[in-house]
Symmetry: D2
Subunit: 303 residues, 4 copies
């Protein structure tokens, strides 16, 4: 349960608000507003605000005075053209603001995306809650044996149990000591900005995060990807579900050209042409390293 | 008249739209939406969209779940505190999108503010209109005799007339030739991306410009300042009039701490303390250069 | 001749300097330092400074204490891996500073790349020189008949002559009037910040431009591309010639994966697989629009 | 001892390099290059590279072809003018690259400064070392009783001992379990990207951090300030010691106008003028809140 009853009441109060506006408004997004979408065991994403819609993208691309007389179909075609040709500025004309609750080690990856606005809950000023991410058994993965930066099969039996026990016990002990250290009951009480350093990276933090659609797509391309760490990918997936309802044409183009697409090198293009003209090409005759060839064949001829 | 009747009709259609939203909505801004506010002889600013309000600033600063139980008065106090202590991220949580029509030489100054999103009308793709900025007589200023980067009194009599004649005649001749060069009537027609280079810097262009409130305040501090060139200052002033109605607490704090405030150097603080303790301080005993002393005295003891 | 004898003497003096440094140093770049490489009729690029080399990229990727014990070959392999997998931050660890002289209409395109540092010559403060870009006859191109944003064949005969005459005469007349307006000889003299607006977009300006290698590659991918306007492409090409000598491994990877590579959509990948398995695919059965199909076939089966 | 003998040997090898360069070179910075300057119990900063010097700032401001014929004194005057009038772009023309080893909770504050380039040691890919920040007794501070976001007196006696014991024991136990979880000895071994989440925020990480001088000054103004948390302030102080030797004029101007200066609000300027004209002003007659008045008096009349 990621939110308390008091928090849920505040959320419900905001969801019940109704204002009149002449701004671009998307009914599908209005339905998502403020609602906490659960992610991991205690996390969530909440849409706090949004600016623009599909039409705002083409309106900006055309620098137009109104919605334009162009048909909806033309909007979709133009959006696909803009995405295909790497035009970024029209997509920057849409903006979204999220409230996110997430483990600190996920936050540390997330913050690497610099072109966004962030306000994080301050552990210098406030006291953190006793909430830690403990993976579900099926996500307690072993180190990958083929990729230094990845994970393999789920841990089994005793090993899994031992790891879960470590994570739970260490988190709770660290939090007990955090509380004892900051307590002002019969003692001075350690400064919060110092006490927090005893807390492990699976503790939850939260922030307001605001980003434009172009930079959000960049984030999603990297973080909703199968190579991303599972714990951030589930946040990216939850955001995808919302963006789909916000800007359906732009999201469709993003899925086709970015998520579902592939990047070929100059050598790859050349091999492809040779293959299409009937030539048999092997790694040896491709001019590619083994790693490049493996990645190329996964695009051209997946088994 | 900065917009055509057809454009005005498109604007009116957008102004008449009414949607229901649960997003933060500011009635004062709704009244400004889409309307072309005239600036200079053919320019304007139009508010296309906005995200957030004063409460969105404090909400983000507190990373809260709802509007918060805090009173409006607390919101104002917190906003003033955040502004005074140079907290920037909460102000980044508000965003505004403008449509601006402006002379090219103003656009060239404006674009130096990099932390914003821009879509400009493309003169590679489209044909520019015959619209040039011709200063009103009272703004036809002489070069300043005391400041290399400024202007002095308005030009008088024959000189003023001669300058106006140059500006008008050269603009029109350049535009006539632009039209002749791109014409495909009985000739191939020069590429638009080349023909545009014949046009002078007082021709009007237009763009969609989207920026967060923190960076907008930075822009306004520099461009609504008395040292800014008059032709960009009038745009900044027009934006101030809108921001005032959008986020009145934040704008009030900005006016007090940024526009109306002053920055003292370490030497300035020391001189000030000496003066307040009754000492007579002169430029010679201040440790400041003449320029610094003049600027210091303009703050401390304006005549 | 883009630089005066006095400027050349200043350049020669800087080229003759010799300092001892323990910083990463690239002999090939030292040879380029300060030299004005001519571009267009009066423009140039000059390398003013650089930070880092190929090794600085891998050093940062490994967060290492020294140059690392890894072989040069490993450096190249790692750089290709980083480029292929869109790792951007290691490439940001190299930085270059250029002095560029360029026509204003080129500067207006260039400045759209926001992630760079710029100091432009100030026409509020200083007086611009009488230098205008006049295209060579072979670059005086007609508007493209198939692409709204491009150019076709070179203009012929009388039309070409007429266009050149317009460009030259209008530039010179505008500059004559600029000089007359700012003259303080027997008159007040118009403020420079106003007089400049009479000057056309083919006048030359200049700036210092500093950018990291990742963002430079992004600039080069868009501006050294065949779809870029010729007048900015020649600047990008001149920069490529320098970067090649600065970070040869990174530049090689950039050429292979970005300049020579291709981006396929999800639909494109699917068509490709069908074609490689022997199926005949046409635009009608591809699921692509005509434009997409044309672009896809230009990758897969160029004639 | 923040570096191992092997690391020190790599550092010494880099310090011994000597190359010839025509780039701007600062002897005082050459002496700092690569050397690990200790910060906290296991951390350091190391200068890896730098671009530019004081002259590079004025050269860019003047967009000049050489070092300029202006005297060194003029350089200092211009730099002070640029700093006083908030010109930022000339300072962006200098760049510095640091290798920093720092506790994770410090890294989390540091990374909030977005306008910089960062490569952090990857705990998805590599194994972290057993190194934790344990405060010296005099820095083991109590929560401030007057400021929610600050610290008071050092903890005394038993309480201090108990806190130190918690920090040490919890760190070590967490690290023991981290090692046990990732061990592949007789078990699968937990993925590193998961195991790291058991580690507390006082563990050390490291990164390469590259930033321009303007943004570095912004960082230093906030982090070398007395309100910054002690553990980040010591890093900022160590950087100040280096910058002082790199760009002495710019650093001097920064100290005078930013670190040693003060920002007055419009109300503050007005009160100041009243006081200088002999009027007795109190908080009640100042128009300021108590907090603002206290801060104003700390500038005007510190006791």
């Amino acid at each position: 349960m990621p939110v308390t009853p008091e928090q849920q009441a505040e959320i419900d109060a905001q969801r019940a608000m109704r204002h009149q506006t002449a701004r671009a408004t998307v009914p599908g997004m209005e339905a998502h507003l403020y609602e906490a979408k659960p992610v991991l065991d205690h996390g969530f994403i909440r849409v706090i605000d949004y600016m623009g819609d599909d039409n705002a993208i083409t309106q900006a691309a055309r620098v137009s005075y109104g919605k334009g007389t162009k048909s909806v179909q033309n909007d979709e075609g133009l959006i696909r053209y803009l995405m295909r040709h790497w035009h970024s500025t029209p997509f920057e004309m849409c903006e979204i603001k999220l409230h996110v609750k997430l483990p600190v080690f996920v936050a540390r990856q997330w913050i690497r995306h610099r072109t966004a606005n962030v306000n994080e809950y301050s552990a210098r000023y406030s006291i953190l809650d006793r909430e830690f991410y403990i993976p579900a058994p099926e996500h307690l993965a072993a180190q990958s044996v083929i990729n230094n930066q990845g994970r393999g099969e789920a841990l089994q039996g005793d090993e899994a149990a031992r790891v879960l026990e470590f994570l739970k016990a260490d988190s709770n002990r660290a939090y007990d000591h955090y509380e004892e250290m900051i307590s002002e009951d019969g003692q001075q009480g350690l400064a919060r900005e110092l006490a927090r350093m005893n807390l492990p990276a699976n503790i939850y933090t939260q922030w307001y995060w605001k980003v434009d659609l172009h930079n959000l797509f960049h984030f999603l391309r990297l973080r909703a990807d199968s190579h991303a760490q599972y714990e951030i990918r589930v946040y990216a997936d939850a955001i995808c579900d919302v963006v789909k309802d916000w800007v359906p044409f732009a999201y469709g183009a993003f899925e086709d050209y970015r998520m579902g697409g592939a990047q070929l090198s100059g050598r790859g293009v050349e091999c492809l042409r040779r293959m299409l003209s009937g030539e048999e090409v092997t790694q040896e005759t491709s001019g590619m390293s083994k790693g490049e060839w493996r990645e190329f064949m996964a695009i051209a001829k997946p088994n």
